[in-house]
């Protein structure tokens, strides 16, 4: 017994005396980030936030855009490009001298192969490319390398040029190392099973290791054509709990905390050792009102609900620092985004509208709500103001997969959701919020307008016309018109636009939070 006691005491003392490790090294960036959404590392399949961020830092595309002003599109792996007079042929001149970490030089063939591969594999994000008329059968003719340095892409119609170009900046347009990928091909899978957990690109960083639900480690690409980054290594640790992330940041065991809530952010802001970095994201938060519900299908009820939300109050409390008021389907920063915010909390006006619609005493309705922060808090705030107008809102909490399954099957009354654009062109959101080519239950295409059973043949035509308008000024005008009508009549109560925030140690500079999820970049990070 005594021996045991001595052993235990000795062990405890040894543990307590273990050397305190130095804080994060000067040439490594350590970050806490919820990365459990990564299900693949193959850019032809990546469609998740963290996955997109990984690809953004490790895979170059033909072109890119300026984060401050997305209308400024510039060459990355392509040095320059031209568009034919009929607007259907895009010719890219590749940048000479780019070499993959494998040692293979990058050619136009790699770029052509990457796009062809994404279309043939036809994974979730493939529609971003197939909407230009590419199919597995025709893609070899429509996208091809005419010589080592020239890539030609031919679309089926003359679309707005920026629409095509923005889609070429998306994750799915990342350039993979053809030779390396094909070395790992099994049964004609174009290297899909291998690339799911491996890496074959060129970018400022390259993959070192991915441990699902645990960590993602990147190494610097010392030979990067655009100059090697300052950080030798980037270590991303999957830390679920925001409060834990905050403690780690406070102690200096991480340089950046990525998933902080309003509570943690105010602490981070007041701490001299840390600061808050923000960037306006394209994601918007909205309520989807199912038109299968009789009350919600009345235009005046839809309008009334738009007056029953305390936008300002929520912006100052439950979504403080995380969101900014926005009420149109195109996020700020997009071509033709409508920035007007006509709706504020107005109980009397809402009551009048409800009475006109035949609901002077309000009505009962349910809302499917993800049980995560801040969605749940938002739902509760909405429930309180709805009640003031006489609308009895029952919140049905559920896990993400569960509520989404119900929403996709059109079994909801109200769904509180978040939608992020897939690429920087306005069509991405117009396509889902303002288009519904077929409102039947077995429709081929099921955009958000379909999920809420909103039948809009006229608006669908307007959105289809806007994507073919080649004059940017006219096109912006068209989107403004669609949004104004949408804002007034649609069953979407658009409330906020996301601001992405990170808590950063004072000595860490240069982390960029760009407008899209693959624009969060580590390349320019330095530590003092």
């Amino acid at each position: 017994m005594r021996k045991l006691f001595v052993c235990v005491v000795a062990a405890l003392m040894a543990v307590a005396a273990a050397p305190t490790q130095a804080k994060t090294p000067r040439d490594a960036l350590v970050m806490a980030f919820q990365i459990d959404d990564i299900i693949t590392l193959d850019p032809a399949e990546i469609f998740e936030f963290s996955g997109a961020e990984f690809a953004g830092n490790t895979y170059d595309r033909l072109i890119g855009y300026d984060y401050q002003d997305v209308s400024n599109i510039y060459g990355v792996a392509a040095e320059s490009w031209t568009i034919s007079d009929d607007g259907k042929t895009f010719t890219f001149k590749m940048r000479p001298g780019i070499v993959f970490p494998s040692g293979n030089p990058m050619t136009a063939e790699d770029a052509a192969f990457s796009l062809q591969r994404a279309i043939v594999l036809d994974k979730s994000p493939a529609f971003i490319l197939t909407q230009f008329g590419f199919t597995a059968d025709n893609v070899k003719d429509k996208i091809k390398a005419v010589d080592d340095m020239t890539l030609v892409i031919e679309t089926d119609k003359a679309y707005a040029p920026t629409f095509v170009l923005y889609c070429l900046t998306a994750t799915i347009s990342s350039i993979v190392d053809k030779k390396l990928v094909m070395e790992h091909e099994q049964d004609g899978d174009l290297g899909y099973n291998w690339l799911k957990t491996n890496y074959a690109g060129v970018g400022p960083f390259k993959l070192r290791q991915w441990k699902p639900n645990e960590s993602l480690t990147l190494d610097r690409n010392d030979d990067y054509w655009g100059g090697a980054p300052a950080m030798k290594r980037v270590i991303i640790r999957h830390i679920v709990e925001p409060a834990t992330q905050q403690l780690l940041l406070e102690k200096g065991d991480i340089d950046i905390a990525r998933n902080l809530g309003p509570d943690q952010l105010s602490t981070v802001r007041n701490n001299p050792d840390t600061y808050i970095q923000e960037g306006v994201k394209g994601a918007i938060y909205y309520l989807g009102l199912s038109q299968k519900n009789e009350a919600l299908s009345k235009p005046k009820v839809r309008e009334a609900l738009k007056y029953l939300i305390d936008y300002k109050g929520m912006e100052g409390t439950v979504v403080k620092d995380l969101m900014t008021i926005h009420q149109a389907f195109l996020p700020k920063g997009f071509l033709g985004a409508l920035e007007a915010t006509p709706y504020t909390l107005d109980i009397n006006k809402a009551k009048e509208l409800l009475a006109e619609a035949g609901y002077p005493n309000g009505f009962k309705v349910t809302m499917d709500t993800r049980n995560t922060s801040p969605i749940m808090e938002m739902a509760q705030a909405i429930q309180a103001t709805f009640a003031q107008g006489g609308v009895d809102l029952e919140i049905i909490p559920g896990d993400g997969g569960q509520t989404l399954t119900k929403y996709r099957a059109r079994n909801h009354d109200i769904y509180i959701g978040r939608w992020g654009p897939d690429y920087q062109d306005p069509h991405t959101n117009a396509d889902t919020f303002a288009r519904n080519p077929d409102n039947s239950d077995d429709a081929k295409s099921k955009p958000l307008a379909w999920r809420n059973a909103w039948d809009i043949p006229e608006m669908t035509k307007l959105a289809d016309a806007a994507v073919l308008e080649r004059d940017p000024a006219k096109r912006a005008e068209m989107y403004l018109d669609i949004q104004k009508a949408h804002q007034a009549t649609s069953p979407f109560v658009i409330m906020f636009q996301q601001i992405e925030v990170a808590g950063v140690r004072a000595d860490t500079k240069g982390f960029i939070i760009g407008p899209s999820f693959d624009d969060n970049r580590y390349k320019d990070v330095t530590k003092e």
Partner: protein, 359 residues
């Protein structure tokens, strides 16, 4: 004492008619019942997984995929087949050693489990160790001083262990002993190792204390041990609460027996009466209690794993369940089942060693 294997042996009693030699019969019965248990476990989990209102395709294709991709993936996963066919296909694959791939991690389920289970095993073992070395003496004291202040203090300590959410306790522990500790930090932050040590030791068993010791990497060993202290203490506190309460009631039962009075009358020293005579008779049921509490911890403690960023079985299982990642759920369930059966067998074995009547 009724436990699972006893029940299992009875369930397999039909094989008695085969008139095999007795030890062989026991083994055959055991194997049959273990297989039947696994099959039942899989069937129930499978059905639960299929009736939950979550579309498993969503985890793979996400919310944005066009309808044709959704339908194609549904077919690739075999989800368009009738349920019983899906189940048979799964069991057939398992029999050939293929647990399938997890859609969330893109890895074979077996590989995932090899990664997450040792983390849970390490944490649960150390936690149970803490729970036992503190819980048993506390329970004995509480029994001996029934109704007096040591009993009251231990009761409150136990009650707190039962009632404080582990989530809160974990965060407070981190706040006090890691973030706000006035002299540097008493314990390290969350995770199994400091970032710099991550990946430096080849995973042989997956249990860091063993792997680092085998590799002679003592710095990593101490770092891993140091990282274990807080989460294991907090988990251990919960098993302590349970173990001390149970020990107390076992002790009370023994202390009221006549042989105790006899021993006291004979002049046996009081410490010997308590720690040898009474506790000696308590050890048999105590083994079951400890085994059960250990088995519970081995299922993984989701909240502790989340607070301490501990990549264990509990978090893996929960994430998989919430995304209807059935291969992963079924694989992890089998591990949990195997743990329960294994621990039951072990406690049976110990029972026989400790109790002469059972030999």
């Amino acid at each position: 004492m009724t436990n699972q294997t006893d029940r299992l042996s009875r369930a397999g009693a039909g094989f008695k008619g085969l008139s095999l030699p007795s030890p062989l019969r026991t083994v055959v019965n055991l194997i049959t019942t273990v297989l039947l248990t696994f099959l039942g476990l899989l069937l129930v989990t499978f059905i639960i997984g299929r009736v939950v209102p979550i579309d498993p395709v969503l985890a793979i294709v996400g919310d944005r995929a066009p309808e044709n991709v959704v339908e194609r993936v549904r077919e690739e996963l075999g989800l368009n087949l009738p349920l019983y066919q899906q189940f048979f296909i799964y069991v057939w694959n398992v029999l050939q050693g293929d647990l399938g791939n997890s859609v969330l991690t893109a890895n074979p389920v077996l590989e995932d489990i090899k990664r997450v289970f040792p983390a849970t095993l390490e944490l649960a073992t150390v936690a149970t160790f803490f729970g036992v070395i503190l819980g048993v003496p506390m329970g004995v004291l509480a029994g001996v001083y029934q109704g007096r202040w040591p009993d009251q203090v231990i009761r409150v300590v136990g009650l707190l262990g039962y009632s404080i959410p582990v989530f809160w306790l974990g965060l407070m522990g981190l706040l006090i002993f890691y973030a706000r500790w006035p002299w540097g930090e008493l314990v390290p932050g969350p995770g199994r190792l400091d970032v710099f040590f991550d990946g430096l030791v080849d995973p042989v068993t997956g249990v860091l204390l063993i792997d680092s010791a085998m590799a002679g990497e003592w710095e990593i060993f101490w770092n891993a041990a140091w990282h274990l202290v807080l989460p294991a203490s907090i988990l251990g506190y919960f098993s302590l609460a349970y173990i001390s309460r149970m020990t107390r009631s076992f002790m009370l039962e023994q202390l009221s027996q006549e042989y105790i009075t006899t021993a006291r009358v004979k002049g046996v020293p009081e410490w010997r009466v308590i720690w040898v005579h009474a506790l000696g008779n308590v050890r048999v049921p105590l083994v079951t209690v400890i085994a059960l509490s250990y088995a519970n911890l081995l299922e993984g403690s989701v909240l502790t794993e989340i607070v301490f960023s501990w990549p264990g079985l509990g978090y893996y299982l929960t994430q998989s369940l919430l995304n209807a990642d059935m291969n992963a759920v079924l694989g992890a369930t089998m591990v949990v089942g195997a743990v329960f059966i294994g621990i039951n067998l072990l406690s049976d074995l110990l029972y026989k060693l400790l109790d002469p009547r059972a030999r």
